[in-house]
C-alpha cells in the first residue's frame, strides 16, 4: 500500500467504486466513443485533483477558503497567455508553468500571512474578497487576459487532434494527440492526488489535523500553526494551479467562466462536501458524482420539466428546469452537511464497519 501512503479506502464498496471510476476514466477513449464522453472524463480528472487540493484546506486544516478558483484561474491563464503570446511550442508550455505555479504559491503565501495575522475567522471573508477582486482584475486587463472573451490558443503539434500517433489499422483505435492529451491530464491528476494522499498522511498532515481539531492545543504542543497553515495553503494553491494548467490545456482556452467564476468555487465546495471532507478519496467520488450530474442529470431534468409542464402543474416546470439543477444540488449540499458531514466516503466507511477516521465533526 506504499502508493496509497498507508491510507487505503477502508471500505469494500468504496474500493470497488474507486476502482470502477479509475478504470472507466482510464478506458474512456476506448469504451465511450464521442467527444462529450472524453470531455466529461477529462473534467472529472481535473476536478478530482482540484477538489482534492481543496480538501487539504477544508477537510484537513478546517479553514474555508473562497480563493481556490483564483489559483485554478492563475494556472489556466498562465498557460493560456504563454501559448497565446509565444505560439504553440513547448517553450511556451514551460513558460506558462514556471510563471503560473510560483505566482500562485506567492499569492497563497501573501494571503495566508496576511489573513492569519488577523483573526482566523476573517480567512473565509478575506479570501472571498481577494478572489472577487482578482476576477474583476482578470476581466479588466483585457490586453493580457482577453477580458470576458478569454484566450483561445493552439497546442503544440504533438497534442493536437490532427497528429496521429498510432493509426487505426494497428489496434482498431486511432491514438491521436487529443487522446495523448487526455492521458496526460489523467496521469498528472492521478499523480497529484497520490501526492496529496502522501502529504496528509505525513507527520505534517497529522499536525494539520491536530490544528483542525484544536488549534490552541496544537500550538501548546509547540507546533508553529501559522507556518503549517500557510504551508498547506501554498501546497493547495500549487495543486490548484496545476489543475488549472491541465484544464486550459484540455480546453485550449482560458476564460472567466471556465476558470475563475464564483460558481466554480461553489461547485468545488459541493463536490468536497458531498464526496466527504478530510478523506482525499472523497474528491474523486464527489467530482465524479457532480460532473456526471452536471452533464447528464440536466437532460433528465429537462424531460421531467417538460412532462410537468404538459401535465399543467404549477411551479414544477420552473423548479425542474435544466438550468435549476444547482437548486437541487444546493439542497443536497445542505442535507449532507447536516445529516452526513463525512460525505459519501464517511458513510461508506461507517457502513463497512471500518474505523471511521478523518472528517471534521
Amino acid at each position: 500500500m506504499m502508493i496509497l501512503s498507508g491510507d487505503p479506502p477502508r471500505s469494500r464498496v468504496l474500493t470497488l467504486l474507486l476502482v470502477v471510476i479509475i478504470l472507466a476514466l482510464a478506458a474512456t477513449p476506448f469504451l465511450f466513443p464521442g467527444a462529450k464522453a472524453l470531455n466529461v472524463a477529462a473534467k472529472i480528472c481535473v476536478f478530482a485533483a482540484l477538489v482534492a487540493s481543496y480538501d487539504l484546506l477544508l477537510g484537513y486544516t478546517g479553514s474555508v477558503s473562497f480563493a481556490h478558483t483564483m489559483f485554478y484561474g492563475i494556472g489556466s491563464y498562465a498557460i493560456a497567455i504563454a501559448l497565446y503570446g509565444m505560439g504553440p511550442n513547448w517553450a511556451a508550455v514551460a513558460t506558462g508553468i514556471v510563471t503560473g505555479l510560483p505566482l500562485a504559491a506567492l499569492l497563497a503565501l501573501a494571503i495566508g500571512l496576511f489573513s492569519l495575522r488577523v483573526a482566523a475567522i476573517f480567512f473565509a471573508m478575506i479570501t472571498l474578497a481577494v478572489a472577487s477582486a482578482f476576477q474583476v482584475l482578470a476581466s479588466q486587463l483585457s490586453w493580457l487576459t482577453g477580458g470576458e472573451d478569454g484566450r483561445s490558443f493552439q497546442l503544440p503539434e504533438l497534442l493536437r487532434p490532427g497528429s496521429v500517433l498510432i493509426s487505426k489499422s494497428l489496434f482498431g483505435f486511432e491514438i491521436n494527440g487529443r487522446i495523448l492529451t487526455y492521458y496526460l491530464v489523467f496521469a498528472i491528476s492521478g499523480l497529484m492526488i497520490l501526492a496529496l494522499l502522501r502529504v496528509v498522511n505525513s507527520p505534517f498532515g497529522r499536525v494539520l489535523q491536530a490544528i483542525r481539531e484544536n488549534r490552541f492545543r496544537a500550538e501548546a504542543l509547540g507546533f508553529r500553526t501559522v507556518f503549517h497553515l500557510t504551508y498547506a495553503n501554498c501546497l493547495a494553491a500549487l495543486v490548484a494551479a496545476s489543475a488549472g494548467i491541465l484544464n486550459a490545456l484540455w480546453l485550449r482556452y482560458a476564460g472567466p467562466d471556465t476558470s475563475l467564476s464564483f460558481s466554480i468555487m461553489l461547485d468545488i465546495l459541493l463536490m468536497v462536501v458531498i464526496g466527504g471532507m478530510g478523506t482525499i478519496y472523497g474528491a474523486i467520488i464527489g467530482a465524479t458524482i457532480f460532473i456526471l450530474a452536471q452533464n447528464y442529470l440536466q437532460s433528465l431534468m429537462g424531460v421531467a420539466s417538460k412532462a410537468a409542464g404538459e401535465a399543467g402543474l404549477p411551479l414544477l416546470p420552473g423548479l425542474l428546469h435544466p438550468d435549476r439543477w444547482l437548486l437541487w444540488l444546493g439542497l443536497l449540499f445542505i442535507a449532507s452537511v447536516y445529516f452526513f458531514p463525512t460525505g459519501v466516503v464517511g458513510r461508506l466507511r461507517k457502513a463497512g464497519g471500518g474505523k471511521s477516521a478523518g472528517g471534521p465533526h
Binding site: L58, G62, V64, F114, R117, V118, A119, I121, F122, A124, M125, I126, L128, A129, V130, S132, A133, V136, L137, Q140, F262, L266, L269, V273, L315, G318, L319, H321, D323, R324, L326, L327, L329, G330, L331, F333, I334, V337, Y338, P341, P360
Partner: protein, 336 residues
C-alpha cells in the same frame, strides 16, 4: 450637504475618535486631487448615499456575528429576496410610480419596502431555525450551511422570477437632481441618506437607550454572563437575526431602486462589499460598520472617478490598510 460629513452624529466610544476622523480626512484629502469643488461635492454626496445603503445591509450581519458568533454567508440572499419582493408591489402599481407626485410615489414605495422587510424578516426566522440552529458554535459548518442556503435561495429566485434582469424604474418624483449652484445631487441619493441616517440613529437609540439594547450589547461582549443572569439570549438573538434580515431586505429594495434593476446575482457582488465593510468596522460594531460603509463607498466613488480601473481592487487595498493599522477592525468590540 457640505457639512454632512463633518457633523454626522457618528458613534463616539470614549476617547477613540481616530476612526471617525478617517472618512472626514479622506474626503478633505480628495478636494485637491479631484480639482473641481462641484464634482467633489457630487461625489461626496454619492458616497454618503451609497455608504448608507451598504450600512443598512451590513448592520444586521455585524450584529449577528457579534452577538452569536454566527458567520452568515447567506446574508446576500436576504438582499436579493427583498428586492424581488418589492417588484411584487411595484409592478402592479406602475401607474402610481409614473405619477408626478411625491406622496403618490411614496404611498407605493413605503408598502413595497415594508413588505420586503416583512418577507426578508420571516425568511430570516426560517433560515435561523433550519440552517443555523443545528450548527451553533461550529464556524466551518455555519459557513457551509449558509453558503448552501445562498445557492438555494438564488436558484429559487431564478425559478420563480426567471433568470432575466427585471427593471425597477425610480418613481418620477425621485428622478433628477437638486441643483444648488453648479452642484447636482440626485434626489434619490438624498432620500437614501435620510433613510440610512434614520436607521443608524434608530439602531443607536435602541442599543444605547433601551434595556433590550443593553442586553444585546452585553451579549456581544460576554454571552455566557448574560445567560447566567437568566436572560434567554437565544430568543434575543433570533430577534436580532430577523431584524438584520429585514434590514438587508430594505437595503435590497433601496439598492435595486438605485441601480433601477433587480437580479438574483446582485447579492454576490454586494456580499463581498458587505464583508469588507464588516471586517473593516470590526465584527459586531455598529459604529465601525457605519464608518466602514462610508469609507468603502468613498473609495469606490473617488476611486472610480480618479482611477476607474481600480474600483473593486481599491476596496481590498482599503481593507488591507485598515487591518494593518487595527488588525481586528476599527472598533474591536467582541472578546473573540
Amino acid at each position: 450637504m457640505t457639512d454632512l460629513a463633518a457633523t454626522d452624529p457618528l458613534p463616539k466610544p470614549k476617547r477613540d475618535l481616530a476612526p471617525v476622523l478617517l472618512p472626514i480626512a479622506l474626503a478633505l484629502l480628495m478636494i485637491p486631487l479631484i480639482g473641481s469643488t462641484s464634482s467633489w461635492l457630487t461625489l461626496t454626496a454619492a458616497s454618503l448615499a451609497m455608504g448608507m445603503m451598504i450600512f443598512i445591509m451590513a448592520s444586521g450581519l455585524t450584529l449577528v456575528f457579534g452577538l452569536m458568533d454566527v458567520l452568515n454567508f447567506g446574508h446576500g440572499a436576504f438582499i436579493a429576496v427583498g428586492a424581488y419582493v418589492a417588484t411584487l408591489v411595484l409592478a402592479p402599481f406602475a401607474a402610481s410610480i409614473q405619477a408626478d407626485s411625491l406622496w403618490v410615489n411614496l404611498a407605493v414605495l413605503a408598502p413595497a419596502a415594508l413588505l420586503s422587510m416583512a418577507v426578508s424578516g420571516a425568511l430570516g426566522l426560517v433560515v435561523e431555525r433550519v440552517l443555523i440552529l443545528p450548527v451553533y458554535g461550529q464556524h466551518l459548518k455555519q459557513i457551509l450551511m449558509t453558503t448552501g442556503g445562498l445557492i438555494v435561495a438564488e436558484q429559487t429566485l431564478y425559478a420563480l422570477w426567471g433568470p432575466q434582469i427585471i427593471p425597477m424604474p425610480l418613481p418620477v418624483s425621485l428622478r433628477g437632481s437638486f441643483i444648488l449652484g453648479d452642484v447636482a445631487v440626485a434626489k434619490y441619493r438624498v432620500l437614501a441618506m435620510l433613510i440610512g441616517l434614520a436607521v443608524f440613529i434608530a439602531i443607536q437609540l435602541v442599543l444605547n437607550r433601551t434595556k433590550l439594547g443593553l442586553l444585546i450589547r452585553a451579549g456581544v461582549e460576554n454571552r455566557e454572563m448574560v445567560e447566567a443572569l437568566g436572560y434567554r439570549i437565544r430568543r434575543l438573538f433570533l430577534g436580532v437575526f430577523m431584524t438584520g434580515s429585514a434590514l438587508a431586505g430594505l437595503g435590497g429594495v433601496m439598492w435595486a431602486l438605485y441601480r433601477e434593476q433587480v437580479h438574483a446575482s446582485m447579492s454576490d457582488d454586494l456580499t463581498v462589499l458587505i464583508f469588507i465593510v464588516v471586517i473593516i468596522g470590526g465584527l459586531g460594531s455598529i459604529g465601525g460598520c457605519f464608518i466602514g460603509a462610508i469609507l468603502v463607498a468613498m473609495v469606490a466613488n473617488y476611486g472610480g472617478f480618479l482611477v476607474p480601473k481600480l474600483a473593486l481592487v481599491s476596496n481590498i487595498l482599503l481593507m488591507v490598510a485598515i487591518l494593518m493599522w487595527r488588525p481586528r477592525g476599527l472598533y474591536a468590540v467582541t472578546s473573540r
